[in-house]
Amino acid sequence: MIRKGNHFDCLSFFMIMYFMYRIVINSFLSIFILFICFVSSAQPVRYVSLQQQTEILEGKRKNTNNIEIYFDNQRHIITRCYHSPKDMITVANSLGEIKTYNPKTREVSYQRVEGLSSKNNVVFFFVNNLTDHLGLADQGFTLVSNQYEGQYYVSVWEAPVSIKNIAKVKMAHQNGVPVYSEYLDNKGKALKKTYYTGYYNLPWFRFPQKVIDIAYQPGGDSTITRTMYKNIEVSDVPDSEYFNFEIPEDAKSVEIN
């Protein structure tokens, strides 16, 4: 005679096996992520150069800019050579001190913007494998929750009091690299979403080929920025004059409007 409880016992057994499977898989994934971070961080990179193409789309109009980036990872100085809308060279250090030089007019301007520090950009974070929070912790953000959602490791960061218009940042990692981040305001509305895709796997670090930003404007419009990276080169010696570029001494200092 079959007992009534047999169906319930089979289902319970199946559910227990399923949750044990999830625990085992998540544990292996955590160990794998830690291993990748450890191995990657053991080999610092000195000089990195790459090409960046940034396209900004507003409505049906877009603006394309091609930039060459030269990053000295020891002195933390990043040089950007812009070719459109006009030729410009900017040199930024870790304090956010920026020198902007126009090679045609031989004019230079100086400013300090902490948000544009050489340690606050995609290149710095990925070259140094600081991808777990992409600088949020350094700006005072606090980790409030983290969990696995299928193949994604999702973390939520709360903004410090000093940052008024952002309440939380949600990040998702897959296979040890960030794939998504979302900035939320006080009402839980998304201010900006960023997607990181198509990772290059280099011996020293992993770098996204494409970064897509969607910034939501108050009127319901949005601005989409698509940034593509290519020709990433790593060396132990500065193989270009633009590494730690020096502004010519005869450059004329001008004020920024």
Partner: protein
């Protein structure tokens, strides 16, 4: 039997929810590529705007939101009944138009309160930047 069906339902629901949440972390790249392919190239950006787009983090977003309190106060003083100061600070289109639709912000009352609030909070007007509410000072008085 009822218990079995209930547990089975919960189990299937759990299996369904997780993948649906995870799909929100990816983007349909071909759609984005199509938007860019269909767009017209223009020189709409200034160089400083491009520099800002390079700023990575939350502080970069906070920089973009900074507005001048004096400009907001002057716009409110002279054009407050048209809601121009709200468009400058950033708001929903309807919230800004509501100033005109309500005969100058309820006959000038709302712009007057906006003016007083902006003066009092001169040093930090960030709660009123990108505030979608018609009464931008709601919850901040």
């Amino acid at each position: 039997m009822k218990n079995t069906i209930y547990i089975l339902f919960v189990f299937i629901a759990l299996m369904g929810i997780k993948p649906a949440m995870a799909s929100s972390y990816t983007i349909n790249e071909p759609v984005v590529d199509q938007l860019f392919d269909n767009a017209v190239e223009s020189d709409m950006l200034s160089f400083s705007s491009l520099e800002m787009s390079n700023a990575m983090s939350a502080s970069g977003m906070a920089l973009n939101a900074e507005k001048d309190a004096i400009v907001a106060i002057l716009l409110d003083a002279f054009l407050g009944t048209l809601g121009i100061h709200r468009f400058y600070l950033g708001t929903e289109t309807l919230s800004g138009l509501a100033y005109i639709l309500t005969c100058g912000g309820i006959f000038g009352v709302v712009p007057l309160i906006d003016f007083i609030v902006l003066i009092i909070n001169y040093e930090d007007i960030s709660p009123f930047v990108n505030n979608p509410s018609f009464f931008m000072w709601k919850g901040h008085l």
